[in-house]
Subunit: 246 residues, 2 copies
């Protein structure tokens, strides 16, 4: 079974309600960690040397925050991440926790965080150097049509270049309709990730992944009791594991 | 090499400084998670069936908070925890985040949290039923002598009964001097844990563990650069691992 966008939003809201008591900091930490663990499990084995480069594109909301946390844990696990965080200054003012996440990346881990919005030819140069790109632009709360602007440009660029690297989407492929799947741009392009890491539970759009794509779930935030209450069949995680390959 | 208590406190303060940007919620989440992973790795294999019982004793400060998070992740990993959290009401008023942690335990996971202070014979009955007890009473900021009262009573009870279960201490064995090791009570008792999970980095007192004790480290909060700045030799974690057995 798969979650629709309404139920995904409801579950997220419930988790952070006074009844269940999770904080954004906790959920984001565990979500980003599980993304890093999944990426490390899927690709570390086939990387020839240690410290493979990886480019994380962080969007304006909590999906972007998950990407920031993911970048930190990737570094801890031996990767060499660069973070692209357009409009960082404005976003960090709006949500001070994003600012803390960026501080830890820069000051503790010397991770380069690109905080201005790149010209498309500069973004192209970055993409030309990558074997792995993490799409943490939009998550389960995104609703098409996408607004013309920096994020639609980035997604278009990603779609144009996606055959040159592994594209890894967090929670849902950016620009997709969470319930109905891929959206083709007016230039006939769509993002088609090689890997998806669903958080909490897979969404409807995951059934539109290409057959050869890897699909993981992470973010073990809900109990069996809670799952039942929401009509969800619990995933069968292996003992001791924080992620599951579906 | 091992950390003394002054350096441990300084590092903790630095992590949550505006420069490095970690929040208490993040650090506690990752610390408690690594404790659960270490316990699960060390003991899950020798437990005959799934859902082994485990009793977590949470103290008044952040070491207690680590224990609360550890209890949740143990449940997620298939254990059956009961939490003993004396003075819970007062502590949760002082630090609302502890209250959130308790809410998640109770409401999401149906974990029993004993929030009043147990009579010693009632505590004895709980201890009589355990094969695993987690000591998350005091951490690196504890300074002996211990004040006579509920926590000294609990530690004494633990020491009396420790041969009947596995005692697992978080960060430092409770009641010990973080720099100089075990403190023998006036009744001639001392806590002598079977397992220690050091957080961030092992403290001086860890060299006084009994030879057969297991020693893990978790809480990968610091970079190699930061470690060097504090004169610490980074631990050699296995690829992809959040914990290390020392």
């Amino acid at each position: 079974m798969l979650l629709n966008s309404v139920k995904a939003a409801l579950i997220d809201k419930q988790l952070m309600s006074p009844q269940y008591g999770y904080t954004l900091e906790q959920l984001m930490e565990l979500a980003g960690l599980s993304c890093a663990l999944a990426i490390n499990k899927e690709y570390q084995r086939i990387s020839a040397t240690s410290s493979p480069k990886i480019f994380i594109i962080a969007g304006p909301g909590n999906n972007g925050g998950d990407g920031l946390v993911c970048a930190r844990h990737l570094k801890i696990l031996g990767w060499n991440p660069t973070v692209y965080y357009p409009n960082a200054e404005r976003l960090c003012q709006k949500q001070p926790f994003y600012s803390s996440l960026v501080k830890t990346l820069e000051e503790m881990y010397d991770i380069k965080v690109i905080k201005n919005t790149l010209e498309l030819d500069v973004l192209q140069k970055y993409l030309d150097e990558q074997k792995y790109v993490v799409d943490s632009i939009f998550g389960f709360s995104f609703k098409p049509p996408i607004k013309k602007g920096v994020y639609s440009d980035i997604i278009e660029k990603l779609a144009q270049n996606q055959h040159n690297f592994k594209t890894i989407s967090i929670d849902s492929p950016s620009g997709w309709d969470v319930d109905n799947g891929p959206i083709v741009s007016e230039n006939g392009l769509k993002l088609d990730p090689d890997m998806l890491i669903s958080l909490t539970y897979p969404k409807l759009c995951s059934k539109f992944l290409k057959p050869e794509a890897s699909h993981y779930c992470g973010g073990r935030f809900i109990s069996e009791k809670f799952a039942k209450k929401f009509g969800i069949i619990p995933l069968n995680y292996e003992p001791g594991s924080l992620i599951i390959k579906l």
